[in-house]
């Protein structure tokens, strides 16, 4: 009797019981496993699909013991691989199984260190990139700049650098709808790559100088004697302290301190197209009078304001909560934070302590985060954003490795699923968690992921097929359980949380008997069956989680 653990956060223990030869659905059970509470508690009916007869069914493990979903395909380091899959999904955009094995062999903490030091890994070769895709440099349209970014998300050898860029983009949401200059937004993203693991204060100063941000929040219209508060307000409310931690007077004087932080005269877009903008500090337009900000009085300038901000307890808490929400587990929307406490206050405290200890050193905070128990215990506790779902899927399928056409299609797919990169809906950014999901968006997610991972011609899918084949040939045969387990395993050690989904997978895995590779017909049938299992897994609810 093999015990399996199926669970997202809470595991329910089952054991697999071979069905009686004559069994029809629901299958008869061996006496030892007869447990009527199963059907009462979970109300599971085993799928009847045409005349399919699953050769095994799932029933709860009566002794409640835990075990591996692999049963007879036990792998010694499965736990390590599952944890590595988790780390790579969160600190990057996921990884195919081969990469996970390599990384797991390096050891978890060593991989965290490698991720934390992207500068030690090769960067994207931009010269080559822009020779292959000349349109990407100074891209004329938003989809091209989005494609440029998607290319990097998929092909980067610095996963955390790219993931941090997405984190900062979601936090410091700047949108092309108003900026209308995709290359300038791309430069902002490049700035996030460069400063995203440095000091929070340095990053905020760069943000304040980012021409896209200046234009987005109207700081070019913020003048000595005629202030525009937009940037000053959002800097405090949405980018650092959060509502309730400053007064309207603080906003006003912060805005005064940022007068003169503007964009150098722009080259008109017509007739030659868009040009980069440049930051300019205009001393003659800067308010040199005394200002008072959060109790500090003096002739404060913009960097003084940021210096005061980063020393506020509210800033460390605000950043901790954002990091938790993006990297650890879904949280309520930011607008509810002042009325909803964190899910895991102790985790937030750990991150706040890391912030204080390191004076806002993001690399230091991320090290604490990735090595924490709360992080390691947060597998599948977040709904994937569209970017994570799309990039994660094609990284496993391997169909966008290197230069090839179609990155713009991925970018557009991302927009259709509800996350148009470089164009968040407002400065409040996207709503995350279950708010990524609606019927239309889910349909796209399901069709994209299942259409990709069910395509047995793609290199990453072939690698999964080969893995299954090697297992089958090594063991002489492969049970439906082992087939399903290997497929789940190959998609980032995925787990299916409810027994219904697992039964559906097993039922399809049982069609037509054992997998075999002896004749061309058998090869074709085996590959098709594996494709179908991958299709269904990619279509599942569980696949929606990171």
């Amino acid at each position: 009797m093999m015990a399996v653990s199926i669970g997202m956060s809470q595991s329910i223990e089952y054991c697999l019981v071979p069905a009686a030869e004559t069994g029809v659905v629901p299958m008869s059970r061996s006496p030892a496993s007869l447990d009527t509470s199963f059907s009462q508690t979970y109300d599971v009916t085993i799928g009847t699909i045409g005349d399919l007869r699953p050769s095994d069914i799932l029933v709860p493990n009566p002794d409640g013991s835990s075990g591996s979903i692999h049963g007879d395909v036990s792998m010694p380091h499965r736990k390590d691989i599952a944890l590595m899959a988790h780390l790579m999904r969160r600190a990057g955009f996921g990884a195919p199984h081969g990469e996970l094995e390599t990384r797991a062999a390096m050891g978890y903490e060593a991989v965290v260190e490698e991720l934390l030091h992207p500068e030690e890994q090769p960067a994207i070769d931009e010269e080559l990139l822009y020779r292959v895709f000349p349109g990407y440099e100074g891209a004329a349209g938003a989809p091209i700049s989005q494609a440029d970014w998607v290319y990097r998300m998929i092909n980067t050898q610095r996963p955390l650098e790219e993931k941090m860029a997405l984190f900062w983009h979601q936090l410091f949401a700047t949108g092309n709808s108003k900026v209308d200059n995709p290359p300038e937004l791309t430069r902002q993203i490049a700035m996030f790559r460069e400063y995203g693991l440095g000091k929070f204060g340095d990053l905020l100063v760069e943000l304040a100088k980012s021409p896209a941000m200046i234009f987005w929040l109207d700081n070019h219209g913020n003048h000595d004697g005629a202030i525009n508060e937009n940037w000053g307000r959002e800097l405090l409310e949405l980018f650092s302290l959060g509502v309730g931690n400053y007064s309207e007077d603080d906003i006003r004087d912060a805005a005064r301190a940022f007068t003169g932080w503007t964009i150098a005269p722009k080259i008109p877009r017509n007739p030659l197209g868009r040009f980069y903008w440049n930051f300019e500090y205009k001393a003659e337009d800067h308010d040199e009078e005394e200002k008072t900000f959060l109790g500090h009085t003096g002739n404060l300038n913009g960097d003084d304001i940021i210096g005061i901000i980063v020393d506020q307890p509210a800033s460390s808490r605000f950043l901790a909560r954002h990091l938790y929400r993006f990297f650890v587990a879904d949280e309520p929307q930011v607008s509810d934070w002042n009325i909803t406490p964190p899910k895991d206050p102790e985790a937030i405290e750990e991150l706040v302590d890391a912030y204080n200890e390191s004076h806002g050193d993001i690399r230091f905070i991320m090290r604490v985060l990735f090595n924490s128990e709360f992080f390691k215990n947060s597998r599948f506790a977040r709904v994937k954003s569209p970017a994570e779902l799309i990039v994660g899927t094609v990284r496993i399928a391997g169909n966008y490795d290197g230069f090839r056409p179609g990155f713009n299609n991925l970018a557009i797919e991302c927009a259709w699923q509800g996350q148009e990169l470089l164009n968040p809906p407002s400065v409040e950014s996207w709503h995350t968690g279950s708010e990524w999901i609606d019927a239309g968006g889910l349909l796209r997610r399901v069709n994209f992921a299942s259409g990709t991972l069910g395509d047995i011609s793609l290199p990453g899918v072939r690698a999964i097929i080969n893995r299954v084949r090697d297992q089958a040939q090594a063991q002489g045969k492969l049970s439906p359980q082992a087939l399903v387990a290997t497929c789940l395993d190959s998609l980032g050690a995925l787990e299916v949380s409810d027994s219904t989904t697992h039964i559906e997978l097993l039922t399809h895995a049982s069609v037509g008997g054992e997998l075999a590779w002896n004749t061309p017909e058998e090869v074709s049938a085996s590959e098709k069956k594996i494709g179908k299992i991958l299709t269904l897994i990619a279509a599942s609810r569980d696949y929606q989680f990171a």
Partner: protein, 378 residues
């Protein structure tokens, strides 16, 4: 489903990208039009006059027929105060009826909720196009979004499916995988609902093309295809009362005359085909079609195109519409312009309120967020 074929149906056609009002309904008798449009203008001999002041652009001829038959209302100067020149922000305001702060819930989602409070019919609102417009978005209001009616469906991209039976098996599995399960948490429950809504909607809507036959050959362009899809779903009697679709891009900063002509030719042909199709099926009285754009364009042209402006015309078409012109065309006099743009003369929420109240029979106040002047165009 409680809906019958006779329930009022609203079709929204969004002109995405800011349609140039001045070159759509042309104030040809006003010398300021010719002064401000030295390059980007409609030649006078091509205009299709409505009266001695205003004229349709030439490619709107099929729509002019509708107008002449009393089936088209033109509502002038529609917009809102302090119109932002950002497409996104302006579109958001149209979609959420929140001009002063960023809104979340869409006005049509509220309409759909009020038409079907129990959310019984996932096809009460159907969008044709990529991605759901914010106007139809609201937590707890299921709507359906269709990219291509012919290939719409859950797992429609699945590979290696060789028979209908196999597809049916996969869909059966999908429905069981998304069925409510105890103890899996609110997000899983929510995902389950969304998945089953998608599946249910797809199942029903797939029947529409099979039931449909028509002698009307729609024009070969994307908006004509979308409106044919609307007609198919409407004629299938699935209880849909709100359809959404869009066409564009109307963002004609550069080389406007060519692209603007193409867009209006396509829309005019498509709308003409759509109403002809409804007539053929004796359904003309059940449907009104609304057209709007997020804002108009700068009064003065920029040499080859026009930049972002404010205010615009909205249109309502259908057998039950009281044709004619409503409101006043905003003045082009420099002293009446706001930073070079027209000053809107009619709040868009009044336009919505009229349709919500007089066509759909719902209370517009909670939907548009207040009481606004209603007109008599329907």
């Amino acid at each position: 489903m409680t809906t019958t074929r006779k329930d009022p149906v609203l079709v929204i056609l969004q002109l995405t990208g800011a349609n140039d009002y001045l070159n759509t309904i042309v104030p040809y008798a006003d010398p300021l039009y010719w002064d401000n449009r030295p390059r980007v203008k409609i030649p006078e001999d091509l205009l299709q006059p409505i009266d001695d002041e205003l004229a349709f652009r030439p490619d709107m001829e099929p729509l002019k027929k509708l107008y002449d038959n009393g089936k088209m209302a033109i509502i002038h100067g529609v917009g809102f105060a302090n119109s932002p020149r950002s497409h996104f922000r302006a579109m958001d305001i149209w979609h959420t009826c929140e001009p002063d702060h960023v809104g979340v819930d869409g006005w049509l989602a509220k309409v759909i909720r009020d038409l079907d409070p129990t959310g019984e019919n996932v096809l009460k609102g159907v969008n044709f196009g990529q991605g759901l417009p914010r106007a139809m978005t609201m937590r707890g209001v299921p709507v359906t979004s269709v990219t291509n009616l012919a290939s719409y469906g859950v797992l429609s991209t699945a590979r290696g499916i060789t028979s209908e039976q196999e597809r049916a098996q996969l869909l059966d599995s999908f429905s069981r995988m998304y069925a409510p399960a105890i103890g899996t948490g609110p997000t899983m429950d929510f995902l389950g609902q969304a998945g089953l809504s998608a599946l249910k909607g797809a199942d029903i809507i797939r029947s529409a093309p099979e039931k449909y036959s028509s002698t009307i050959e729609y024009a070969k362009n994307s908006i004509a295809r979308s409106l044919r899809d609307v007609a198919q779903v409407h004629l299938a009697g699935l209880g849909t009362q709100v359809f959404y679709t869009s066409h564009g891009p109307f963002d004609t900063h550069f080389d406007q005359s060519g692209s603007h002509t193409k867009l209006w030719s396509e829309i005019s042909e498509a709308v003409d085909d759509f109403f002809a199709d409804l007539q053929e099926h004796d359904s003309g009285e059940e449907v009104v079609l609304m057209m709007f754009s997020e804002f108009g364009r700068r009064v003065r042209d920029n040499g080859t195109g026009t930049d972002h402006g404010a205010g615009g015309a909205a249109f309502l078409m259908g057998d039950r519409v009281n044709g004619g012109m409503y409101g006043t065309y905003p003045s082009l006099k420099p002293e009446h312009l706001t930073q070079g743009d027209l000053a809107p003369s009619y709040d868009f929420r009044g336009f919505y309120s009229t349709v919500i109240d007089k066509w759909l029979g719902l209370d517009p106040v909670p939907i548009v967020g207040g009481k606004f002047e209603e007109l008599s165009f329907v």
